[in-house]
Amino acid sequence: MKKVFFLFVLVALSACKKDDTTTELTFVKPVHFPEPTYKFENNRITRAGFELGRILFYDGDLSRDGSISCGSCHLQSAAFTHHGHDVSHGIDDRIGSRNAPPVMNLAWGKTFFWDGGVHDLDLFAIAPIENPLEMDETFANVVSKLKKKAVYPPLFQKAFGTTEISGPLVLKALSQFQLMLVSAESRYDKFRLGDTNALTADEKTGLELVKTKCGNCHAGELFTDDSFRNNGIQHFGDKGRFRITLNDDDAYKFKVPSLRNLQYTAPYMHDGRFLTLDAVVEHYRKGVRQSPNIDPSVSNGISITDDEKQKILTFLSALNDENFIRNKEFSEQ
């Protein structure tokens, strides 16, 4: 993988020489992050590819009636979630059943969706496009609509060297934009990279508490181990991972979400049931309900004193990354 990054930089440099009107763009792994899981060798990031992906992400023509783009449910100001909506709100005001997660740090994702139904980011966009509750369009029709828009052929030419618009290239471009949505500049990250003053004393204690009490699942620099777990919330109809594997051992398990940017992504959990982080921590302290496959690390609740709770909440706010929600490169142009 290291070699691959080295290659990116080289490519970027040579591209700069050829064409100094635009600054080339490359995917840079934050030094403290693990190696990404995305196979960049199949989809080298370029500025032209990223910009094409950005236009597609904000294009309403990906939906049946032109009304809904990816950006309608994944708002930058809400760290690319659907702010204020517990479950997503799609075309014709139809209501989905799950809360939109942030489009963030996807290069490290092993699976996508709360139930992990999609195993490759390059296949992802077909799902919201074809979901009758979201964009209610067919992917084949999206491709033929894009072919008819005069803006696209030159953009595909720049990005992929062909004016021939095809499904795979639409998907690759969308991936390029989404892969660049890296959030790694919170105060926690500055602390992690050596700035010992970036966190207050309470936040440092909070960090240690999160590591010991939550780190079993919300692990590592991404604050998720990408596994599927039942964290003891009360379960209703949605069986989570079971829908994908049909394995009884997976009933009521959902993908562990990251703890980054929580200030912007309320409400919380797969169905957006908790409105505040206070309510989330109260759940782990006192609200755990027994149900099949509950994770042993939460089945008796997590013991957290009032003082510890405050420190945990304080630390979580140090995981908010303002640059991520303000970066103009990520916004609709």
């Binding site: 196979k39 199949n42 092993k110 699976t111 969706f113 992990g116 139904g117 999609v118 195993h119 490759d120 390059d122 296949l123 077909i126 799902a127 496009i129 074809e130 979901n131 067919t138 992917f139 084949a140 999206v142 491709v143 095809s166 499904g167 795979p168 290239l169 639409v170 998907l171 690759k172 991972r241 829908r243 994908i244 594997t245 049909l246 394995n247 997976d250």
Partner: protein
Amino acid sequence: MKTLKNIFPFALLAALLVVASCKKEDTIDPNEKGSVVLEFDNIYEGQQLKLNDVTYKTAAGEDINISQFDYFVSNIHLVKEDGSEYIVPQDNSYFLVKESNVASQTLTLTDVPAANYKSVKFMIGVDSLRNTMDVSKRTGILDPAAGAAGMYWSWNSGYIFMKMEGTSPSAPLDSATNLRKFRMHIGGFGGLNSKTINNIKEASLTDADGEMAKVRASAKPTFHITVDASKVLNGSTNVSLKTNATTMFNAFSVNVANNYQSMFKVDHVHN
């Protein structure tokens, strides 16, 4: 007796022909290449399948009208008379047969080594490798935006191997369409990150009379294969549309796949 007498000269002729062709076979040029056709002829029990208009009866005693019947055929192997196999190159070995599209029902395999082929084997569905590979390699009928449109599950990445839809007075009323619809969407390649149902099935077909497809540079034989759509709902599990009108990615789908595994049969071979 009279008929027998009449047949005799023909039988003699046939025997001569066989002998003559046997002689020829002894000297098949190992570099000679030809083509073979797989013709998929969709039927319902003894009748030609006709979409929409004709009402059929299932083994569970329910009436159905079929509006769509599509399936993937892939990973084709041709078995020679000596038992050795010719494996169709992977990139040319994926087909989507649709009842609504006559052209899709005739698969022509080219560049096949000259030989006498007694059987054809194939996968009903798409292998796990193609279910998980990079999108840019998914062209033609494997492209979810083109050939595979409608035969791909986006929410649980993977191809639908067999799709049969229609209406039945026994099926519950579908509020979206106001029709009594049934939908059999069968897929499941076994899972990538976690093991799950595997509905990949294989068919191995030989003509009952032992007729072989004699592929030569100058001869393009055809395996004429009948595909009995009634087997989707009838078989080791007689599916009732009262209870299982919508069978998609669920445990019951395994029964449907077990049923339709036996829907293919070589009716005859044209040489």
